[in-house]
Assembly symmetry: C2
Homo-oligomer: 369 residues x 2
Amino acid sequence: MQKSLASNRIIGILGGGQLARMLSLAAAPLGYKTCIYCPEESGPALDVCHSNMVGEYNDETKLKQFADQVDVITYEFENIPSDCIEFLSKLKTVSPNLNSLKTAQDRLVEKDYLNKVGTKTAPYANVSNHHQLDAAITKLGLPAILKTRTMGYDGKGQCLIRTSADIADAYHLIDNNTHGHCILEGFIEFDLEISVIIARNAQNQIAIFDPSQNDHKDQILHKATIPANVSQSTIDRAKKLATDIIIGLDYIGVLAVELFISTKNDEDDIIVNEIAPRVHNSGHWTQDACYVSQFEQHIRSICNLPLGNTARHSNAIMLNLIGNDVNKITEYATMPNASIHLYGKLDIKEGRKMGHVNLTAPLTNQTKP
Amino acid sequence: MQKSLASNRIIGILGGGQLARMLSLAAAPLGYKTCIYCPEESGPALDVCHSNMVGEYNDETKLKQFADQVDVITYEFENIPSDCIEFLSKLKTVSPNLNSLKTAQDRLVEKDYLNKVGTKTAPYANVSNHHQLDAAITKLGLPAILKTRTMGYDGKGQCLIRTSADIADAYHLIDNNTHGHCILEGFIEFDLEISVIIARNAQNQIAIFDPSQNDHKDQILHKATIPANVSQSTIDRAKKLATDIIIGLDYIGVLAVELFISTKNDEDDIIVNEIAPRVHNSGHWTQDACYVSQFEQHIRSICNLPLGNTARHSNAIMLNLIGNDVNKITEYATMPNASIHLYGKLDIKEGRKMGHVNLTAPLTNQTKP
């Protein structure tokens, strides 16, 4: 009997959270099955995957078994140990590649790379000890932000130094950073943050969603608004920057690029804040406002399908449901323009991402001239 | 720790095919898990469900275990034995209800019901033996179609009687019908077929998608086009008929109503062909042209959530991928307006539904005046 070419691949995903869940949901309509590898025995992705393996990210025996049963490997977050990806890369294709992961994992390597490809970042300096912090503050001035070079997300591992009175806290961060070195970043004044979700496949085909404008609460993304309140020229420049970044990494998959926009000058100033080598919270709106979501786009990229159409059929606002926000879901369910995306997490914890809603509206020409 | 109200339900689904697959994919974003019950050990729905049970539909021990572990039960096809639904209904809420299933399972009961609620059907007569067929032909005339009262789908269990020369074949169908009696339906002349996908929840909230225009090949749905090429008045009348039908059954869930439209007279003639107590192939276009798909709508209905918004953001053509059609998928993957929905079936068989694609286009006012 003839076999369908379309349905014979298993995608291995490292990580079992909501991003892996939504990747699994997007993989199925393309005919792919997913196998989730993570240390937890339950979790958002395990409700919707074809199969799973419970294992630590440094368990090479299990990782080998995992690689044996999948056709291609990806990951849902950048804090996977790079040794794990290096090991798996010898067995199967892993996308995004190891170099992209290592670049995104380390704020210093990341900023060096971003400047190398000609994008602008905040001024920065490597800080490994108190003395280097003092020197970096002298060089960059205050206010400035000390961050751990690795393992930071959603505002964790950061210390804002407004005045010299805050330096003691910064010393404390250096002394207690179990993940190695820190980086001091000069304070950037900006008017708004946008992010660009870009994808690339092995044929060097590139597709870019319209940037969202992002608002944070307690250093966690609260709201993404599309279209962003920036000019078409700024959108075009942002997309060009993201293109340079993704090509320079020989990157396969969806990449998120966070940008700070300062509107003071005639031409908006664009500064790259950071990149995330994965589908991203600020791209969740694509599920309900575009013909292809960022999740399907990532699956298409890593399976080397042609990339999908990033055009919008609607405008959108994405609202994260953090902690108790999830209890508003009965209200959102009554709203005709609210699309609900829950992650299947039973226990509500403060700061925990429980789900999101996409509020859609018909397209209007809201882009600034 | 506080529990999320939103994520604590398990939906039991009888049947493991593509409709159960797409119901499972739609249940997850609403925070629900699915448990699939079917005799097969693998199948489209089993790739994306939270859990499954392998069992026959008459195995009351296993059905009881199934009912024990789910919160609400639904089914993906109307050929589930009604005894199974009757048994389960004593243990858990089953939607759509037993009476709706029984009505849709038997073409005679169905037509009696449709006429009772004031909708028009083809003329028909019960046929249990050769003599009754002769009498029915005398009454209804030729051409006419003899159909098994139960277990027919996609043109199976039917015999078109054009002239008296075809009566021998019809006798043969009566003699070999293992499912009981037949029904003779008078031949209806019509210009096009449309279907209405309607949903109702326990609060008697009703929501209706725009009707699709359906084209068949080899008696299997080939194409659904939205908007249908009928007037707004006909659309409104079709929606009203569907509303009468769903209310009369005290029906919970998504119901498909197939309608034949004859455009010869000043006002279109609308005849109800049949109803299907489930999500329906002719409603697959909703996945990519509406804010809420028929699958999400069914989940919302049976979980007694408010019904979703049935408005379209796009026009659409749904094309089924039957048998070898699935090999066109690489071509569809390159088309910016094609959304792919594969069912994860590996073996290609003639006539087997392997997937579908939705071709979308921006909204235009194509409705006839």
